[in-house]
Symmetry: C2
Subunit: 488 residues, 2 copies
């Protein structure tokens, strides 16, 4: 009961610091037991959790804090340095959740916990907002996705059956817990009192060590992480027979990697999910049965699976009329698991959430068996190493450079990351700038992982479509010409 006790005490502390119902509380830090306490004490006290992305630049998180205006910010040891900048926001107090001495000007979380008596849970539920999860934006600005308690709960309870989680499950969190996917798995495991193990961040060696030591039964990966685990020198010395479920997302698994997993981790079932933060986050799942290489439906490995039990998924045309089987349209999703809307963005919300349907901005089609195939990201998004990167955000950073005239950002094929961020830049007449300088410039504004891996310079203006928008299709074409585009 130690977790419940600590959470109930931290909730008391937050309330005594002045937290009212619906006030926001933010967290900046890597995975640990502290982010678990953060989420639950925010809920317990009646507040709204705002988990920040520790991979974002200070500028991006400052934007998110100014936007969501939390009263308090939790920081761990890795992010003390950023606190000075981040308090140039409505933040009133910074709560230190690190392992060292509490820095000057911050409040020690341990002291808050020990100096307050437990209070009863605020019993937030239903449509009460539980969290604001920031996601990159097509507009170039991050958007805060509001998720209700009902949505969290229904995704978590549905996830229990998809992942076959039970009380004896040991869940390894190596993907960031500020993301909806890991967060949902945290909630579903907690619902059945499973065991959680959090690694600060992903490293193949640490993951293998943890699997061996704690007999991990399930975990979430993006395919590139799985590849690096199988290739790690410690793999053959690790007993992986405890693994029951490997779930993955953000990219399709190659048949080669799947064969390798089946051969080398024969106890593992595989499960893939498609979703996005706006969906709270799951919409479809490719089940363990679909991963059996029995030759019946090998094409299903390239699909995103079938609709989860708690949602409805349709593929529609521009008038939101359902498309026939096999024909591509925009994917829309309805159900109690989807977002309440974007924080303080009523107009964007109105365009995205229509009659209860979230317009995902992704294009896909259903086959006759109800399997969904994703064919393109309508929102001009790049999926690299499991992270969604919106081209608009990278383009905005590039355009801040005084010598850049025009910039377009696309995803190009990359063996390790699925897609790599690639920029095409037109420099102003009579000016010059080097690749390295431009990339360094981007790092000041956006997270490292969003910055271009490479840049092509171009003399002529960017190509336009018939309606005057930059033609990404034309820009992408030479890079993808010889590649089987089965990116999911």
């Amino acid at each position: 009961m130690e977790l419940v006790d600590r959470v109930a005490r931290m909730a008391a502390a937050l309330k005594s610091l002045g937290l009212n119902a619906d006030d926001r509380v933010a967290y900046l830090g890597q995975n640990s037991d502290r982010i678990v306490e953060f989420y639950f004490s925010a809920f317990w006290s009646g507040g709204v959790a705002v988990p920040l992305n520790y991979r974002w630049s200070v500028q991006e998180n400052l934007y998110a804090l100014n936007d969501s205006s939390p009263r308090f910010l939790f920081v761990d040891d890795g992010y003390i340095d950023q606190a000075d900048t981040l308090t140039k926001s409505p933040i009133e107090k910074v709560i230190y959740v690190g392992d060292g001495d509490c820095p000057a000007g911050m409040i020690s979380s341990e002291q808050l916990i020990s100096s307050h008596e437990p209070i009863v849970d605020a019993r937030r539920s239903g449509g009460d907002i539980a969290g604001i999860f920031y996601t990159g934006g097509t507009t170039g600005f991050p958007k805060g996705v509001m998720i209700s308690h009902e949505a969290i709960w229904i995704n978590a309870i549905s996830n229990l059956s998809e992942k076959r989680t039970h009380r004896e499950s040991v869940i390894l969190h190596s993907a960031p817990m500020f993301h909806m996917a890991a967060f949902t798995s945290l909630i579903s495991g907690t619902l059945v009192a499973a065991t959680h193990i959090a690694l600060k961040n992903f490293s193949a060696g640490d993951v293998l060590h943890t699997i061996g030591r704690y007999r991990v039964t399930q975990m979430f990966f993006v395919p590139t992480m799985l590849q690096s685990i199988l290739e790690h020198p410690e793999f053959d010395r690790t007993d992986t027979s405890c693994i029951q479920m490997l779930s993955y997302g953000a990219a399709a698994i190659s048949e080669k990697l799947l064969r390798s997993v089946i051969e080398r981790i024969p106890t593992a079932n595989l499960s893939q999910s498609y979703g996005q933060t706006e969906l709270g986050p799951f919409a479809t799942t490719l089940s363990p049965q679909d991963h059996l290489l029995d030759g019946r439906h090998p094409e299903r490995l390239r699909s995103a699976g079938q609709t989860v039990a708690h949602a409805e998924v349709r593929v529609v045309d521009a008038s939101r009329i359902e498309r026939p089987v096999g024909e591509v349209g925009e994917i829309m999703v309805r159900g109690p698991g989807v977002m309440t809307g974007y924080w303080k963005l009523p107009e964007v919300t109105e365009k995205t959430l229509i009659d209860g349907w979230v317009m995902t901005g992704d294009a896909g089609y259903f086959d006759q068996f109800g399997y969904l195939y994703i064919v393109d990201r309508v929102k001009d998004m790049i999926v690299s190493g499991g992270e969604n990167i919106y081209s608009a955000e990278v383009e905005k950073a590039l355009n801040k450079h005084p010598n850049v005239k025009e910039a377009a950002v696309i995803g190009i094929p990359d063996d390790k990351w699925g897609e790599a961020v690639h920029a095409i830049v037109v420099v102003k007449d009579g000016e010059a700038v080097s690749k390295d300088d431009l990339i360094k410039h981007c790092r000041e504004w956006i997270a490292d992982y969003k910055c271009p891996k490479d840049i092509s310079f171009r003399e002529e203006n960017l190509p336009l479509t018939s309606i005057g928008k930059v033609s990404k299709v034309e820009l992408r074409e030479p890079f993808w010409r010889d590649v089987d585009r089965s990116v999911n």
Copy 2:
């Protein structure tokens, strides 16, 4: 898609016959594909399903029909004879779902389906009432339990993980599908597009034949059924290796029976649930892990397991204050899965559903690990062969006999049924009645399975408690003296 098409056509027929939103539609018949179509077409048309108990007497079902006043009644071949009596209720039309020629005065369901075009689903949801499920009553009258679409759905989705149901599951329904337990399993299997197989009713031979023929992966039993399957001469000739999940309820499994299952159906996981119709129906589950006979916690086999993910369960005293670990109190349950209330019984509802908590009327305690142990049925109920029998209903039937002065009904130990219904009767001065005549008399009023298996006659008046109620404790004592009372 045949089921969806038939359901959408039957819904159209019901609406063209005049069904309005919230109107009731009843069903009287054994398990078949027709009861599945009944449930879904009732929901699809915007109506409320009232599944009748085919084991009840005509009088009991007539009571339920007068109480719930459905517009239409579906009957299968086994219950055509009862239709005459049952239409002495507000029923307007009887819809025949049998395999023969449509009897005079009834409408053929096949004709309704073929003569109507499919309509769109009424999209009932949330608090809309989906069904009224009748349950025996402590008052001596059946009570209609109103279950909302939200409650059905949350029980079903939670059941998916408890039973590990997935798309490749083959679910055998041999327990009556008018009960909440089988109904929930019907909905959860349908949510993931599993395969359902319905047997008209339970027989060990048919069950074994079906397992072998359809490779059944999961089913629900009461322990006595499981026993009869293991003892059946066909058992050893049946390949039962397809069975993944055996769930049971209504009674504890003996260690002897469990050992026998583990030895003879080694692929089976076992799962037990505790609940009641009012709970929609599940509150706790004893998981497969708890059935491992590894010697750590053998006492858990006598427990009802731990709280399901979608409910809260507390053990409280008469003031609804939580009892300490290990101490007995009344079990109460809260959550989105519980009933909306009793149909047309606001006062009973008010006493049973308090601040969202269902007072179950069952007594139990929690151990330090959160396992719930049921020690008594506060509601004076007998559990015989998986059926709940309320003593008050049997006593009421006995009291209708002109020669009976006083009657008390208790459960006494029975090797086959767990408990057997036993009556203690005081005959009026100067009158006489035989056991056989009294039992025959009861059959006119209540279902066979509720009638006393045996009767003890008593000269003196029934013993009373200090508050003047009949002391069941005193009456039960001689029967239970030498029995380990581990009935759950």
